[in-house]
Symmetry: C2
């Protein structure tokens, strides 16, 4: 059964039935011209688009994981502000030939991720398109949010998790690898197909005022560090030998560093910390995998420092749309 | 020059330069992982998608008017709640072959409509697609918002403006009519290409507690009245002879009623009023074109009443995606 056999009204009814209930501060959810929300004093608003053929491919992205990812990439933006996600609106443009089962799996994944994060779907829009397009907008509580612009010379640069896994996962998927088939690359495939937003870490870093600037790594470490430096009016140095690389990625590639620097879609947190706050950061303990990878400098240049201590300008190269 | 010659970064820089300033309650706008907004107590959230080939066609939608429309259809949802629009986020998925000039015109139109309504662009996302897709999310102040669900038997049904013009405009455009070429159909073309959100009327109806239920006519009078009736658990009657039809539409078609009932995209307000509030409604005066077209009834049936007083079930037929 395909969407053209089902019609828009049943699609909307199904979304409302599955995802339309409750939520913190939701006075009016799905089913009116706009949702009505009771808010905390300051709140966050972010939006991400996922387009078939550009941001994902239907042939290798299981719809349940795509449903999870389409919410979770937005939650990663909330995490990068140190916020707490609250509400989502979902825009879906779908071909009439889309399988009903595909949509149900997608919605199940979206619902899973919503429940995990305590996010309520409060509205959205459905349209038709030749390729699948997913547009999610998420709100969150801002609290003591951390902007990109707060880095100062002398701050240390940290990153969560490991980098380059998602980009390696995408390469593997393009070459035919599939989840479940090859255990050794499982973590790489998962990193691309089903990334986890670092909400708990982001929120702790904000509430304890540990991070001075923060961003999630969506474009790649080099580009996203450049974003922090640009918005903060500073430069930086990355110790290439310290960039965290997973065992799975090391086994997959002899020279994984370029993927870790420029791969993108890691959805890990990149943040800066004043030196006096580093001891308190360490006390967060091993629950969070955090690695110190460099420092913020005066000026505007971003340098790569090799293990021998030699400095070269860091190449800022991430994926850019249209080019 | 095309977007593939320009690249994503310049596109984002251009949007930020043109549209990224200020706004009520905007603590952090374009340029971070999420916007940070200081809000009134209760606020509105709504989203609309516009997809090339389905919701608009590039061949006959001037990009400036499309930029206006992509914001204004969202503002119409805010108007239908009786709210005041505040912030927008803009998602754009564009082919790399899109002309830079097309985008600049689109942004100019979006900016025009933003300025007219006092809306601040606070964020968004850019991606690539084979067809143009525009996803706009708008927030607003809820105030004494009017839901779809407040209609009661005995309420009278009113509509603003005239109906069917936009649907007629679309037909004309499909047949080759273009704005400026044929003056007689100008209002019909404008109704489709450049609809106006009824923000002032919607806000007045809410603040003065005149409307008990309200919706904007995007799917068509019959479907949108059915939405009000369904959400309110009531039925209704429409006096066919009272449905407001413009002179331009009468000149264009011998039998314009079907377009006025089912045409869609009018973006006029359809609302219900308790009988005791009708005198106060009349006092709004001729500044707003408002027509009484029927009443709310007990039960669930929606009837059409012809000028001779005969009643038949109203056919609920509006455009449905996928079918």
């Amino acid at each position: 059964m395909r969407l053209k056999d089902v019609g828009e009204r049943r699609v909307i009814a199904e979304i409302r039935r599955r995802l339309g209930g409750g939520g913190i501060g939701v006075r009016l959810g799905i089913g009116d011209d706009a949702a009505v929300i009771r808010s905390p004093g300051e709140w966050l608003l972010t939006k991400d688009l996922l387009v078939e053929g550009y941001d994902f491919r239907r042939s290798f992205h299981p719809p349940r994981l795509l449903g999870r990812k389409s919410l979770n990439v937005n939650l990663s933006d909330i995490a990068a502000m140190g916020g707490r996600p609250l509400h989502a609106v979902l825009g879906l443009a779908l071909p009439g030939s889309t399988e009903w089962e595909w949509l149900l799996e997608f919605l199940a994944g979206f619902q899973e991720a919503s429940c995990e994060a305590g996010v309520a779907l409060v509205g959205g829009d459905i349209s038709e398109a030749r390729e699948i397009l997913i547009s999610v907008t998420v709100t969150g509580e801002a609290g003591l949010f951390v902007p990109r612009s707060g880095a100062r010379p002398g701050d240390l640069v940290f990153v969560s998790g490991t980098l380059g896994d998602a980009a390696a996962g995408l390469r593997l998927l393009e070459k035919g690898a599939r989840p479940g088939k090859d255990r050794a690359v499982g973590p790489l495939l998962k990193a691309f197909l089903d990334p986890e937003p670092r909400l708990e870490l982001g929120s702790l870093l904000a509430r304890r005022r540990l991070a001075s600037a923060m961003i999630d790594i969506s474009d790649g470490l080099s580009v996203d560090l450049a974003h922090i430096c640009e918005e903060s009016g500073v430069g930086g140095e990355v110790e290439l030998g310290r960039v965290p690389i997973s065992g799975a990625l090391r086994r997959f590639m002899k020279k994984p560093l370029p993927l870790a620097l420029d791969g993108g879609e890691d959805f890990e947190l990149l943040f800066t910390v004043r030196p006096r706050n580093v001891p308190r950061l360490r006390r967060l303990g091993p629950r969070f995998k955090i690695t110190e990878i460099g420092r913020i400098t005066a000026g505007k240049r971003i340098m790569a420092v090799d293990p021998a201590g030699r400095k070269k300008p860091l190449k800022i190269r991430g994926y850019e749309h249209f080019k």
